[in-house]
Symmetry: C2
Subunit: 448 residues, 2 copies
């Protein structure tokens, strides 16, 4: 197991965010294991995905006159805008595209984490490891996505017999799938590999815990209205970009040992920008039903509905200004109140989380990369590294938003509860009806 000991990188791995052009020379990396003499250290280090700084070749030619620091800045910038554009396009297509994208990103992130595990433990010739990881991934995705579908699409899904069966036996099927994986794992145990197999079993489970549960929460948020997805994701991006900008131009005071290039200037500048830009973005989005309406299936139109009576937090409300400010406002002939969407105030809570706690997701990922001596999780996005490098800060955010909605926003609606009542047998529905009637009359809410 972990025998890192004093084999810490002698030469510090450079922070991928800042100088990705400098790859750690593999000869500088100490080996953990001296018992595989047939493999040179270089060979083994190469197996761990290091994230190349690949540049599309036309860009390379175009940018070659620039000094490396600027060249990377430009590439990173281009791909930042490309990603933002893609993000907007997906939002334009609609929530289902968003959910599908979430699934893709999640699978990709899982792949990156598993690849690292695979290389770190040098599992060559180990039977079944990859298949098992994917089996567990399919199982947990089936379970989590199925739960969402059962919750939100009971109307559509109860139309076909197969779907009804799948929903009725959803948990049983998922559990059976897990048990198959579990038994398979136990049967695949091989004497020489016990410890690595158990370590990778843990690795797979933690990766799934992080990746799949998060994507489940993201979908939960999208179901409550796309604004609950777009605002938090944008906040993390804004915070990332603004912290990078502030750090790049003003950064002086180091923030944390783990990410030596992160500065207090970037942290604070990023935080303030996130709150302000987050409020503006929220204010804009609040005006469109497309963004604020929860995802609902309209039986009449047999399609997703993009219109609704907006929940009160998306309806403009009058707030009276504090005393002194109100007097000052009156002096200028302005109103003593301000009209605002309550959601804009909620957005401040989200901003605070995304700029104070969000970066810890990044620090965690940094530490992880240090621990396993990798530079990036992958190289799928030029200038940015792997998918996980870009989404590391997003992960805690989705959970926060879900918990936030659950605690402060979401209320059980009579409609939703009625759906559950309809699941009862007719005589039970009647029984509930009578009990409710008695109780309402007893409490004087209903006239007998």
């Amino acid at each position: 197991m972990a025998t890192e000991g004093d084999s810490e990188l002698r030469k510090r791995v450079t922070e991928p965010d800042e100088k990705p052009e400098q790859i750690v020379p593999s000869s500088e990396i100490d080996s953990d294991d001296d018992r595989l003499p047939e493999q040179s250290i270089e060979q083994r280090t190469k197996e761990i995905p290091q994230g190349t700084d690949q540049e599309p070749s036309f860009l390379h030619t175009l940018l070659s006159p620039l000094p490396p620091r600027w060249r990377n800045w430009v590439i990173r910038g281009i791909f930042t805008w490309l990603m933002i554009g893609l993000f907007c396009l997906i939002i334009y297509i609609g929530p289902l595209a968003l959910i599908f994208t979430t699934l893709l990103v999640q699978v990709w992130c899982f792949k990156e984490i598993i690849n690292i595990g695979y290389s770190v433990y040098r599992m060559h010739g180990l039977p079944w490891f990859r298949s098992l990881s994917w089996w567990f991934s399919i199982t947990s995705n089936y379970f989590f996505y199925g739960e969402s579908v059962a919750d939100y699409f009971s109307v559509i899904s109860s139309k076909s017999d197969i779907m009804r069966w799948l929903i009725a036996y959803h948990r049983f099927t998922s559990f059976t799938m897990y048990i198959i994986g579990f038994v398979w794992f136990v049967l695949s145990l091989k004497k020489k590999y016990y410890m690595r197999q158990f370590s990778l079993f843990a690795w797979t489970h933690v990766a799934l815990l992080i990746v799949v549960s998060q994507s489940y929460f993201i979908i939960f948020n999208i179901f409550h209205g796309m604004i609950w997805f777009i605002v938090p994701v944008s906040m993390i991006v804004i915070n990332d970009v603004m912290a990078y900008m502030f750090g790049f131009f003003l950064g002086k005071t180091p923030l944390i040992q783990l990410s030596p290039k992160k500065t207090w200037e970037g942290f604070i500048g990023g935080g303030i920008s996130t709150i302000l830009l987050g409020m503006i973005l929220s204010y804009v989005l609040c005006q469109y039903p497309y963004f604020v309406c929860p995802m609902e299936y309209s039986e009449a139109e047999d399609a997703l509905k993009y219109a609704c009576d907006a929940s009160p937090i998306f309806r403009p409300q009058e707030y009276s200004l504090p005393e002194t400010l109100a007097n000052f406002s009156a002096l200028l002939g302005w109103r003593k109140t301000v009209t605002m969407y309550p959601f804009v105030f909620h957005s401040v809570a989200l901003s605070l989380f995304s700029s104070v706690i969000g970066p810890f997701g990044g620090f965690f990922a940094s530490g992880f990369k240090r621990a396993f001596k990798i530079k990036d999780f992958g190289d799928v996005i030029p200038g940015h590294g792997g998918m996980m490098d870009r989404f590391d800060c997003q992960y805690l955010m989705a959970t926060f938003v879900t918990v936030y909605i659950n605690t402060f926003i979401s209320e059980t609606s009579p409609q939703k509860l009625l759906q559950k009542v309809y699941m009862l047998k007719p005589e039970q529905q009647l029984q509930l009806y009578n009990m409710l009637q008695d109780s309402l009359i007893a409490r004087g809410i209903l006239q007998p």
Copy 2:
């Protein structure tokens, strides 16, 4: 990371179930890490809890004339009966005692797993590791137990303001606690320890996933009636004991490489015994409301209720015998039908799981012990080893029972749903009432 390589135990670790008197000589265990010369191999191996075969001293004197194989058999037997007695006592005291015991066992198991992790990774001087593990354990227990309380005791708990607040903000509090742990972990990262810290982070999370979620499921089962706890737990014990007996007296054909002393004879004998004894036990327990009634709080008596209209699966039903058997029965002057509790048939499904899949929990634990070169998880129960050694097969079982109840048994009752309706605002309750009325009339269930 895992540098087990060819350092597999040269001398096989003996199966704890069969010959626990033979401790692996620590000098036989290869070292994983040659970079800690100041510690001898013996010293380090000693740190991993090996599970002593401690015998209470009076027993030692009493049993010294016996050959070791028999001595251990007797000690194991005595403590098996002691545990069964304790188990019955706790059931006699009631479900709350059972829930409390579950919590204790779970905390103990977590402690055992964490201790092993602590020793395996030799985290001496590593800041905060133990505190962090316990913090995560408290967090997840708070979360899971709180969810149960919120679900099942909403009546009691809504009586006090503090409880109401705790329930309203339950998920938010739990998440905040988790975030504190997460940030604390990131801040505790220390350069020389990165890899071990991340490995132990994973270790803690997997341990919690296994231990806490299971205990949550166990509580869920108890809430549905103690029979859902007693029968499955007994089945595992019966299967364990009977497989051991069959193996001890008849065992010839080895079953699986991982547990060399497990035999096909034990496996099959155990399975058949479990089905038969499980049916008998179920038949007996079905007759007592104390065992079959779900846990409910009676507002009138301000106490737990132990009486109920038993669910149909606990009410005797007539089943007609198959043709040939019926004819034979008629020939003997017997009835052509048989009266049985449907639960007895359900018990066969539980038996099958506990005797076919249950042992894989044990194989998993065996493999884990091999991987980390420990004999037992601890030494808290003489003749049996640690708490985890005794409960390893129980773990999958609780999940199976929960899923089983969820899929095949539990139906939303009108009463339960009405509880949720009462959580709505009065005007919403009225709205739901009217909508339900319209729907019932439209479907001809209610006369206008």
